[in-house]
């Protein structure tokens, strides 16, 4: 696979994967095994574990900010510390948790779902992970740099991020960390695409791929076209800061708006890079727990493609209020995205319609996902309208909107995936009762946290403020939000306990605890090295269901004889 360079590599990957791969030398256990691993499952676990730790860090920052906002006045944080916290909170959740969690789950499950022995480029895969870890560490450890971490917001707008706005090394470390993480994402995107195109098991045609795999292909495509411009933009920013450049400095003929173009060219598609993987996971889970095939397979794939295309042409809806962009164009394109997104709701509802729905934990998270994301989508259409956006720009209304998409949507999708696949990854069963309690806590906590923010925004509370006046009536809504965050935090702690308890309890999960449809459930839990010793014939997008059906039909014939 990794042999030679250039065309040679590709020509090698074009050959068939053997069902029983040649035995490979395994290293002795311990830390060295993890450092040197090229097994997509181990790398997937490293990704999932690391991103979850980053999630805990980002969540802790959110909690600190919410505690500060519970009362008017400054109690626990200075204004500068607050600025650093919301900057790194946003950066962590976007670059170090949601997007890489999607890539981590894909690392583990794309090869399994298509019947492949590994990713196409195993060592590149390992490199992606280590670059991601280096980037994450650079960003989080920048709190200890002189002057603290970047306080320029996750968008790092110039001139706030410029040499006068942020003189310390915080912004530089932020730039470098993001560059490392984005290089890692691009490598993973290439790897996933080549894997999905060229390492499928015979019979697994493109139109039989599980929808998670399809959405990862489309996510990878979006990564490939959206990350290079942000890499360029941040490099230019670094040049402006240290090498005497004036790309963004208007006083010397540069353009501040150019930075915003480069940032949002990446920034908007990134939203879909953070949601499409979880659309895919949810669409794999709902049919299994409704005992029905997915409703509208082709429609779903084309809707994902349409979302990818449209989302690349709406970037400047984040810049309506600059007055420097063509608002009607970007508004129109943004409205259009609601159409393919609506199609997905038809897919999900149509799949559940008339099905025998089982309310196991993964399905609960899917339902929570749909409810929250629906609200995030509706407010998304609202802020896509320039007159509304001028009123609510940079207020808590926008904060509520994108948290309904990214926390209510993506985070719930992540939990759905983790609960669905945990038995496969570890071989152990999670406690259903604890899982349901986690769901209730996070669902209630989340909605308490963020619903009131819509109202706060409409009442004029700006985002990114550490303090607010006591006499404007914002206090009680802020207190509810803080309470909600605490409840969510308890839910996350309970989730950690849920996982630890499963490892301690060691209840065997079996190979196929949910009666799944896709190939990952046909191998052992956890799968062996190189994944499969046996594969069912693949004749539809539900090969395992077909196989079980065949068994049942044959059993019925036996009885009749």
């Amino acid at each position: 696979m990794d042999r030679g360079t250039g065309g040679r590599v590709v020509s090698v990957t074009l050959e068939r994967p053997p069902p029983t791969p040649p035995p490979l030398r395994a290293r002795s256990g311990g830390i060295l095994e993890w450092i040197t691993t090229t097994d997509h499952k181990k790398i997937g676990l490293l990704y999932i574990g690391t991103t979850f730790l980053f999630f805990l860090a980002g969540g802790l920052m959110a909690l600190l900010m919410r505690i500060e906002l519970a009362e008017p006045g400054l109690q626990v944080l200075t204004k500068n510390a607050y600025n650093q916290l919301f900057t790194i909170h946003g950066t962590t959740m976007v670059f170090l948790f949601i997007a890489p969690m999607g890539l981590g789950l894909a690392n583990y499950f794309v090869p399994l779902q298509i019947g492949a022995p590994d990713m196409a480029f195993p060592r590149l895969n390992a490199l992606s992970y280590w670059l991601f870890l280096a980037g994450g560490a650079t960003i989080l450890l920048s709190f200890f740099a002189s002057g603290g971490a970047s306080a320029a917001g996750w968008t790092a707008y110039y001139p706030l991020s410029g040499p006068q706005g942020s003189p310390g090394p915080g912004v530089d470390l932020w730039i470098m960390g993001v560059l490392l993480a984005s290089a890692s994402s691009v490598m993973t995107a290439v790897n996933l695409m080549v894997t999905a195109f060229l390492l499928r098991a015979p019979g697994m045609t493109m139109w039989r791929l599980p929808l998670f795999v399809w959405n990862m292909i489309i996510t990878s495509l979006m990564i490939l076209v959206s990350f290079p411009p942000i890499t360029a933009g941040l490099s230019l920013l670094f040049i402006d800061r240290h090498l005497g450049g004036h790309f963004f400095d208007p006083a010397s003929g540069g353009s501040v708006v150019l930075y915003q173009h480069l940032f949002w060219w990446f920034g908007h598609p990134e939203v879909y890079i953070m949601i499409l993987p979880f659309f895919g996971i949810v669409t794999d889970i709902i049919p299994v727990f409704s005992r029905k095939p997915v409703f509208g397979y082709l429609g779903f794939v084309f809707a994902s493609l349409a979302i990818a295309g449209l989302s690349m042409s709406v970037w400047a809806h984040h810049m309506f209020t600059t007055g420097a962009v063509l608002n009607p164009f970007f508004s129109m394109m943004s409205f259009l995205i609601a159409v393919p997104t609506g199609i997905k709701f038809f897919n999900w509802i149509g799949t559940m319609w008339g099905g025998q729905i089982r309310f196991d934990t993964p399905m609960l998270w899917c339902l929570g996902f749909m409810l929250n994301f629906l609200l995030g989508g509706i407010t998304g259409v609202m802020v896509a309208s320039p007159p509304i956006d001028f009123a609510v720009h940079d207020t808590y209304f926008v904060v509520a909107h994108f948290h309904y998409v990214l926390a209510g949507g993506s985070l719930f999708g992540i939990f759905a995936g983790l609960y669905y696949w945990f038995p496969k990854m570890t071989g152990f069963r999670l406690s259903e009762r604890t899982g349901k309690a986690v769901f209730v806590l996070v669902f209630v906590g989340f909605n308490l946290s963020f619903f009131g923010m819509h109202l706060l925004g409409l009442r004029g509370m700006q985002r990114r403020i550490a303090d607010y006046p006591a006499d404007v009536g914002w206090t009680w809504l802020n207190q509810i939000a803080t309470l909600g965050t605490v409840i969510m935090g308890i839910g996350v702690v309970l989730f950690a306990w849920n996982v630890l308890e499963a490892f301690r309890g060691r209840r065997p999960a079996g190979d196929d605890p949910w009666e799944g449809y896709t190939l990952e459930w046909s191998t052992t839990s956890p799968p062996p090295e190189h994944n499969f010793t046996w594969l069912p014939p693949i004749r539809s997008e539900r090969p395992l269901f077909d196989w079980r059906q065949r068994d049942k039909d044959m059993g019925a014939e036996e009885v009749r004889k």
Binding site: D2, L198, A308, F329, P537
Partner: protein, 126 residues
């Protein structure tokens, strides 16, 4: 592979369409250039696939393919373990820290990275 080719071609011509409309309506250069490259990059991949994939018959695209059909064909070596990706990333992070804190760190990082790349190549050959 025809589906992949179509996907990249669709992306390319979608961008061409949107880019043309965008330019005609706005005459704004940054976005137009970005959209132009979003036309060219997938187009390049689509053309490459078109030229290569025509000769390519994959059993996975055969609707009647059986899992056994892949048996016994060498798809190259999957390295079970390699230290070099870790070392490469270590070098890269030293190098970017060097950009912030001083050239000597960048130099050290660059050296480590170069060594790791040599290591990766040796491993591939050996």
């Amino acid at each position: 592979m025809r589906t992949a080719t179509k996907m990249f071609a669709f992306s390319a011509f979608f961008s061409l369409g949107v880019g043309t409309i965008y330019w005609l309506l706005s005459h704004e250069r940054a976005g137009a250039v970005l959209l132009l490259f979003m036309f060219l990059a997938p187009l390049f991949i689509a053309c490459y696939l078109l030229l290569r994939a025509r000769r390519l018959r994959l059993p996975e695209d055969d609707a009647e393919g059986r899992p056994g059909e892949g048996a016994g064909v060498d798809i190259g070596r999957f390295h079970a373990a390699s230290l070099w990706p870790f070392v490469t990333a270590l070098g890269a992070s030293l190098a970017v820290l060097g950009a912030v804190y001083g050239r000597w760190l960048a130099l050290a990082g660059g050296t480590v990275m170069a060594a790791a790349v040599v290591g990766l190549m040796r491993e591939s050959r050996g």
